[in-house]
């Protein structure tokens, strides 16, 4: 029973940053902006949050500044990708490399192997138990004892759904992505909508990074996002950028990670192999989703409009 509890708890634990990145990233995806910079933005969130917690000595101030840092990164991406109309892949890739390089440079400069803020942040104290639910078996591991940003990520699934389908902004994002001409012809500023879509993604990636580094471990190590930004892109793609469906894929990847960690305990010397489970799973899921789409495609070679 406790194994099941651990698996479920870890599933949510590992899903939270993915859900945030997915929810943020799908705005840009819907607005027809391919943001592969999610990884870099998340890493920026992780790095800057720990760094500024260390500098300011205050957890929430550190997280706030880290969100501002990723917003700047989002602005850089938008400026080059949207205003200057450069290639999104190259711009996004540039963001990813830049952040990885910046963080290792700063670590080198500060002569540290990693940034440890456990003297400032007590991670155990950040876990919030929810009354009543904490006494219900199974549900308690799913919905109790998590951190604030984790709860936020789950609440945001509903919020993003409402924004996407019931507000002007959501409608405009979809219109810009689907038919930019239509948007322009009624006076919608499509560039502004794209900027905001990217910036929402950046902010949520910042939170995801903060959750990953400060809130969970009070620690930043080099490249600690380990491809989560790309997993998020895969989840958005598989879930067709629908908030609930994409979040479900994010949770699926969280489950894979949690299984890998919990089952590795029993694997003895082979435990290292389980590390590959989540990544292998992405390949399989992407393959399955593409195969299903391919089966429906009768058009040869290229897509006709």
């Amino acid at each position: 029973m406790s194994l099941l509890n651990n698996i479920l708890y870890d599933m949510i634990y590992h899903s939270a940053p993915l859900i945030l990145a997915v929810l943020g990233g799908l705005f840009a995806h819907k607005a027809n902006v391919l943001n592969i910079g999610l990884e870099g933005m998340m890493l920026m969130g992780a790095f800057s949050s720990t760094l500024f917690v260390l500098i300011t000595g205050n957890l929430w101030l550190g997280i706030l500044i880290s969100v501002l840092c990723t917003l700047v990164l989002g602005l850089i991406f938008s400026f080059f990708g949207i205003t200057m109309k450069s290639n999104f892949i190259i711009t996004g890739f540039g963001i990813n490399i830049f952040v990885a390089a910046l963080s290792s440079f700063v670590l080198k400069y500060m002569e540290m192997a990693n940034i440890n803020v456990s003297s400032i942040v007590n991670t155990a104290g950040l876990k919030i138990s929810i009354p009543v639910i904490k006494d219900i078996p199974i549900l308690n591991s799913l919905l109790s004892g998590h951190t604030a940003i984790t709860y936020l990520s789950i609440i945001l699934i509903a919020v993003v759904t409402v924004i996407m389908y019931n507000t002007k902004f959501g409608v405009y994002v979809r219109v810009v992505g689907e038919n930019e001409e239509a948007a322009r012809s009624v006076g919608i500023n499509s560039a502004a909508i794209k900027y905001i879509a990217v910036l929402i993604g950046a902010a949520l990636c910042g939170l995801a990074g903060a959750n990953l580094a400060v809130e969970r471990m009070a620690l930043f190590t080099n490249n600690m996002t380990a491809g989560r930004g790309f997993i998020a892109i895969a989840a958005i793609y598989c879930g067709q950028a629908k908030p609930i469906k994409s979040a479900m894929y994010a949770i699926l990847f969280g489950l894979a990670k949690s299984l890998a960690i919990n089952l590795a305990l029993f694997a003895g010397p082979a435990s290292g192999l389980f590390e590959i489970v989540p990544y292998l799973m992405i390949v399989i899921v992407l393959f399955a989703v593409s195969a299903i789409e391919k089966r429906r495609t009768n058009i040869r070679g290229f897509k006709l409009e």
């Binding site: 979809r174 919608i188 495609t297 009768n298």
Partner: protein
Amino acid sequence: MYAIEAVNLTKKYGDFVANDNINLTIGKGEITAIVGENGAGKTTLMNMFFGLQRPTSGELLVNGKKVSFGSSLDAINCGLGMVHQHFKLVPSLTVFENILLGVEKNKKINISQKIKLKTPIINKNFEKKEVQKIIEDYKFELKADDIVENISIGAKQRVEILKMLYRNVDILIFDEPTAVLTPQEVDELLLSFKELKNQGKTIILITHKLREVMEVSDKVIVIKRGKVVGSKATKDTSSAEIAKMMVGREVILNVSKEDKDVSGNKVAYSVSKLSTRDNFGKKVIEDISFEIKEGEILGVAGVEGNGQSELVRVLSGLMESTEGSVRLYDKDITNKWPSSLRSAGIGIVPEDRYAQGLCKDMTIFENIIAGYHGNKKVCRNGILLKNEIENTSNKLIEKYDIRVAEKNGNVSQLSGGNAQKIIVAREFDSDPKVLIVSQPTRGVDIGSIEFIHNKILELRSENKAILLVSSELSEIMNLSDRIIVMYKGRIVGEVEGRKADSTEIGLLMAGLSLE
């Protein structure tokens, strides 16, 4: 006072003068038709009216006031609306969401009598009711909560019109509005024009279909090479006179063909029980069977989006069929790739000339051999013979009267009609046994239409089998020996070309049986 008055309006692109000192007036509450060949400058003129382009010089007056539009939004605020040829609609949204795009109504919460809190949530119910009301006001056939991708082209056009009317526009510009409609839908649209006119709206109709001009307009303005060459009250003129003004010479509007008995000829091309599905798994063509004999033209009529495009894609090797077979004489050519189809003797004039027929950014020479690279005449041991290609190309340019400014230039410099003639020259001159011709004259000017039609008939007299797919009913009726009509991916009827009558075909196109 006029609704719109243009005074010496000029638009230049570099050295090229698209509109040259245009002076014209459009009367209030009238329907004015603006006609002209492709590239005559109609679109540029309308883009200036609608604020999409700024004039180089000259003045524009709307309702007597001088205006200068920075964007289409300024034009809309001034009471000018435009219904574009390519709809600016969002397919996944509903009719009312599309109409209210940009002017959404939010939910309000009444805290007290005076204080109302505006929420960011869109009030969909209220929007739906409001749109349904204006649909009824203008007696349009539409349902406010249908998803736009599921409604017919005619209905989509009505959505576009309502989108403008909702914004309190009283001058409406229609850019080639009937290009995509069935004959019945055209009639309905023309009726709507009259209804709108009765409600006091001013209508500008850009078109090159003279029947519509004669039927609804009060005044015709003819534009040629960027200049106004004629302006007359419709009742004082005739189709023939307008056509002459447009082209600058006499035009035979209906090519004549002699009747021919083909019953003894061999079957050149046969399709049996062909079906396929699209990307979403939806059956787009189902159980299509027909035969074409040598020297026969088989016309495929139908409203666009009823499977004709997919049929041509399957037959030209761009899409795979799920069932059925295609035969060229007694050879099975089902699901062959385009290059093997061409070498087997099938000429293909695709529907979208720039997406499937030409490479815009390559030279005319390269385009004129595209698809026939393996041909021994132009290629030896895998090396292209440049001189040969140039010779062939120059010969074809002359033979097909393709007007090019720069022979070594790219295809992108050519007007639509001349670009289409490159494809026609390439495919017709490769001595095919069977020709698949899709929308051969879409967006092509009257002079070139006449030329292409004559070429098609020439091939017919050379005993080629021809499949002609077109959404232009008059084209199908003029050229075909037999006509099949497609509706929702199926063949719903067949008529003799000679006996065909447009109401009958129109009914079939709308999915109604003849009984």
